[in-house]
Amino acid sequence: MPVEILMPALSPTMEEGKLSKWLKKEGDKVTSGDVLAEIETDKATMEVEAVDEGTLGKILVPEGTDNVKVNAVIAVLLGEGESADAASAPKAANAEAPAEEAPKQEAVAEKPAASVPAAPKTEVAADPDIPEGTEMVSTTVREALRDAMAEEMRRDPNVFIMGEEVAEYQGAYKITQGLLDEFGPRRVVDTPITEHGFAGVGVGAAMTGLRPIVEFMTFNFAMQAIDQIINSAAKTLYMSGGQMGAPMVFRGPSGAAARVAAQHSQCYAAWYSHIPGLKVVMPYSAADAKGLLKAAIRDPNPVIFLENEILYGHSFDVPKLDDFVLPIGKARIHKKGKDVTLVSFGIGMNYTVKAEAELAKMGIDAEIIDLRTIRPMDIPTVIESVKKTGRCVTIEEGYPQSSVGTEIATRVMQQAFDYLDAPILTIAGKDVPMPYAANLEKLALPNVQEIIDAVKAVTYTA
């Protein structure tokens, strides 16, 4: 059967072009790969190559024709023993004819757009009950993180940790202390200073089903690796149609430490919370650090686990249980109250807790919600609280624009507008790179007085 040669589209946006030149004549033998013609698009001159073999039977669009629509028949190719006369009258013999027979339109473009399906809602389990009489042990966040990793490495031989100074040095911040002794160099892997590279190595290993914990000495250095985190780890499950993903944890300190200036003082909560395919956890207490890190290691998805250098040395009660795992995606009500909802997470909780104590002295009963997980965000818990208090203030150390707080404010405004008695105020770090000077650094960070002022404003108790 004669083969129709169509005007090809040569870019994602091309709709028509000029057939500038035929390089084969009627009657010429053609093999696949031969250049038949040249066409001009708005961008460039391109060659039309033959796909099939045969004899060029009839040229239907002469050279020099402008505005030839994509998919118009421009020539007919004949097989062995076929003649040009045998070719049925071409359906779209000239350039003006619309390309209505083009399968593209039927197959793809003309369908009415389907309505966008609703995003699925997932239920997150509540925290496990801690049996009465459970011993509470005062533990630093540092020890809690180490214990979580050690327990999970004992439980699952596929779990390993890699990063700079995690093994022989025992961790730049001593989070991996003792792990090399217990698990050996196969599972506690010192890497060169090569964040982009070892993040990619970790993702590749995870794609085969291993469970890497990739430690960044700080998340500031993970900027070098952010392509692997987002483009490889977060998107592979989707791009592979569910065949493979990256079950792994990226962890390390994020946010300001003390006097380390702009390049080492940045909170990444909002950054990573933007990305579908990631979970983002940022604990405050040692118990949450332990229970959530264990959950993150077991989670089949890539989890960004944001720690804080200042919190590493803080002590909190941690329940002494064989296997204390907390749900990712569930906020924790740190303190119940009725007058205003304070939402914070990570180091932001430090300011919030102090502010709440001051507010109590003024007779303001604040509820504190520790988000714990930034993505998926437990907005229902926040909404429940706002329905009760009618007022909300968010507190974080990150930059103010597109912050976690602005996200909370948007969602509460959309979902609980009628319950609000005042605009939501968002306390964040100042919109400046972190300065070095002690006084300026202090000014750049949120402070307790700002929270108190914000609460006074939303409760109209100035």
Partner: protein, 343 residues
């Protein structure tokens, strides 16, 4: 080759670039296998180009025409469980790994029967079953990931090697060298295959690379490298066998620079004005990987023109079937929008 293998692992720069092993003569069966595989890739890609021209395939589409001997020869040197990972010019690699032409073509047209359910497209396909780890659209990312596959092989001590393919353009990315360093330091079983097709999109290697002998790119890391005639499937296979044996025996990575050529533009919308028609024509007429095999098959009296026409017809039928499927298979159900984001 045997004498070099007896040496202790190279510690000095001078020994890092090693001579290509002589192309081994293929048996009749090997020639026929190579012929069929390469022809499938060629015909598949021609059809993909055609479907792109008809508007069935959208976005970016990078064809592998001209480079078929590289994946075909390498695949012939692998054993079950060895992994493959590559960049965005990936259709040939997937077919060589044994992934279904229907699945690949339907992914190109964005249909539900595509290997990624229509959600990945030309540059992002995977197959756990065939140990193919993508299909990556970020130039160079697959090199770190492929090193991670080798890390996993070492962790599991499973005797498998991983093949990380990348181009002469990707060879200038920083993470490639971060990966070289770790792979050599930890003696990971990975083969780095640099498909040097002379152009990174429109930039020739001469304009982009201070050192155009890519087999030497591992010298600082004590990784040996071989320059290979990537248009000769036998040469590719010989180098692949050597590199696989090297990596499998615990000696660490090896670099294979495949000197190859793409006949088409970088992508479908590339008019390829940066090179002469004569240059392309000369490669096609003098070095075509498929014609070389065809010539030997006939010269040796192993096949007649008719035998080969029969193979050609079989391959065309497979491709036509894939194309029909890819055009008739429905688009993904709208509910797929929100699946496979998190487990």
């Amino acid at each position: 080759m045997a004498t070099r293998a007896k040496k202790s692992p190279a510690r000095s720069a001078q020994t890092s670039a090693i001579k290509a092993p002589k192309p081994i003569q293929f048996t009749k069966e090997q020639e026929l296998e190579a012929y069929r595989h390469m022809l499938l890739i060629r015909r598949f890609e021609e059809k993909a180009g055609q479907l792109y021209g008809m508007g069935f395939i959208g976005g970016f589409c990078h064809l592998y025409i001209g480079q078929e001997a590289v994946v075909t020869g390498m695949q012939m040197s692998l054993k079950e469980g060895d992994q493959v990972i590559t960049g965005y010019r990936d259709h040939g690699h997937m077919l060589a790994c044994g992934m279904s032409p229907r699945g690949v073509m339907a992914e190109l047209t964005g249909r539900r029967g595509g290997l990624s359910k229509g959600k990945g497209g030309s540059m992002h396909m995977f197959s756990k079953e065939k140990h193919f780890y993508g299909g990556h659209g970020i130039v160079g990312a697959q090199v770190s990931l492929g090193t991670g596959l080798a890390f996993a092989n070492r962790y599991r001590d499973n005797g498998n090697v991983s093949l990380a393919y990348f181009g002469d353009g990707a060879a200038n990315q920083g993470q490639v060298y971060e990966s070289f360093n770790m792979a050599s330091l930890w003696k990971l079983p990975v083969i780095y295959i640099i498909e040097n097709n002379r152009y990174a999109m429109g930039t020739s290697v001469l304009r982009a690379s201070a050192e155009t002998d890519f087999s030497k790119r591992g010298i600082s890391f004590n990784i040996p490298g071989i320059q290979v005639d990537g248009m000769d499937v036998r040469a590719v296979n010989a180098a692949g066998e050597e590199a696989a044996a090297w990596a499998r025996s615990g000696k660490g990575p090896m670099i294979l620079e495949m000197q190859t050529y793409r006949y088409r533009g970088h992508s479908m919308s590339d008019p390829a004005k940066y090179r002469s028609k004569d240059e392309v024509q000369k490669m096609r007429s003098d070095h075509d990987p498929i014609e070389q095999v065809k010539h030997r098959l006939i010269e040796n009296g192993w096949s007649t023109e008719d035998d080969l026409k029969k193979i050609d017809k079989d391959v065309r039928d497979i491709v036509a079937d894939a194309a029909d499927f890819a055009q008739s298979d429905p688009e993904p159900d709208p509910s797929e929008l929100y699946t496979d984001i998190l487990l």
